[in-house]
């Protein structure tokens, strides 16, 4: 198969979102505030990494180089990763993790709902499958925003700070590269910009319920899709890729 660069980049971006956020949440394994939430986060991590495999296996086929999903995950460096910056941010405290999950899940649900109608059959199938799982993620993170926001003075203060801190990374969720705009015209990708108003109103509704304030307009950071990452991604890859790089083709 000859390389379809635009499609390869778009599918890789979706796979990298799931892989990097899945890896981040998996870092909570054994460190959750209570057992049930430790289990919840590892379950969400597992779903995301499963979704990442489906995308990256497909991206490997589109690469024109017969790459496997493992090749895609373990044998690319920072500049080749295309995930949103928000997915690579450190876990911080529990409120930071919830805020990151909340803004991502709200986007993820809307995006996958629309991606089900993709003219690309593989993407449509992955979206249909993933959406069912993400419905549970979305409920979980929104419930925690409300519980912490409308909780004690301390939990409210922490949740508000976490939302304020993450806000500058939410603009990127609705950006589109020129390549992606072409794919939108072909019906391969949904128009991400068109999802923003629903995202805005849904996020506002939940923050209202949580008695938290919506951050004002501010400058938005972006760059992940084109390989311009925060300093955090390198550390993730260093840990995630160590074994397959140190012991190539190791099996166990």
């Amino acid at each position: 198969m000859s390389k379809d660069t635009a499609r390869y980049n778009a599918v890789t971006h979706l796979g990298d979102n799931a892989l990097i956020l899945g890896h981040r949440i998996s870092e909570w394994c054994g460190h959750g505030p209570v057992l049930e939430q430790d289990i919840a986060m590892t379950n969400i991590a597992l779903d995301l990494i499963g979704q990442a495999r489906m995308y990256l296996e497909y991206a490997g086929r589109l690469s024109g180089e017969e790459k496997s999903d493992d090749d895609m995950a373990y044998r690319r460096d920072v500049l080749d990763f295309k995930n949103f910056l928000v997915t690579e941010l450190p876990n911080g405290d529990y409120a930071d993790t919830i805020a990151r999950q909340f803004v991502f899940d709200q986007w993820h649900f809307l995006f996958l709902s629309a991606l089900q109608q993709s003219t690309d059959e593989t993407l449509s199938a992955i979206a249909q499958k993933s959406l069912k799982e993400v419905t549970y993620h979305k409920r979980w993170s929104a419930e925690w925003v409300v519980r912490l926001g409308d909780g004690t003075d301390e939990s409210k203060e922490k949740m508000q700070r976490a939302i304020d801190d993450i806000w500058m990374f939410t603009g990127e969720l609705f950006t589109q590269t020129d390549e992606e705009k072409e794919l939108v015209k072909k019906g391969v990708l949904p128009n991400a910009e068109a999802l923003k108003s629903t995202w805005d109103s849904e996020v506002k509704r939940i923050l209202d319920e949580a008695t938290l304030s919506l951050p004002g307009d501010e400058w938005m950071q972006s760059g992940g899709k084109t390989g311009y990452h925060t300093e955090h991604l390198g550390f993730i890859l260093a840990e995630m890729q160590f074994l397959p790089r140190a012991y190539p083709d190791a099996t166990w």
Partner: protein, 164 residues
């Protein structure tokens, strides 16, 4: 062997392959086996993953290959299909009964899951004592497919096979 016999035999063999996490229910009961057909002498077995990241998926595929191999069903080809996505509606009635006997509350409805969106709690029956007076501890449980419940009558914790 006549083609239809071979397909029937394949289903029989698949009925003996158990889910590694819930060893009372077969992969056929669970709806993981989507389709068995004959393609010019090669037996085509289509299977579908339950949750994307379910670690049991690979084990299940390996077990299916092993069982078909043992039953001399070669040549065969086991393929994973994603669409339409697996749903708890694909679990057979027989499978739901076995889940309940095993102590796992079977999925209450057939579809995902307006309730997950609205945040309402489902009324789930305790598989131990039959009471409806139960409470969801966490929507995520010991495996990706289960939620964690507690019965307020008999006070036993139990797993609920959540709708997907």
């Amino acid at each position: 062997m006549v083609e239809t016999d071979r397909i029937a035999k394949a289903w029989e063999v698949l009925e003996t392959v158990e889910d590694p996490e819930i060893p009372v229910i077969s992969v056929v009961d669970l709806g993981i086996v989507r389709d068995v057909s004959d393609d010019d002498g090669t037996l085509k077995v289509n299977i579908t993953p339950t949750y994307s990241g379910c670690p049991a998926t690979q084990v299940i595929e390996d077990s299916i290959v092993e069982a078909l191999d043992k039953a001399d069903m070669r040549p065969f080809d086991v393929k994973t299909v994603l669409s339409p996505p697996w749903s708890t509606a694909m679990i057979r009635e027989e499978g739901k009964r076995k889940l309940k006997e095993y102590g796992i509350a079977p999925p209450a409805d057939d579809a995902v899951d307006k309730k997950a969106l609205m945040g309402e709690e489902r009324q789930i029956t305790c598989p131990n004592c039959g009471s409806n007076n139960t409470h969801m501890v966490s929507q995520f449980g010991s495996t990706p497919c289960k939620a964690h419940f507690k019965c307020k009558e008999c006070l036993e914790p139990f797993d609920y096979f959540k709708c997907l």
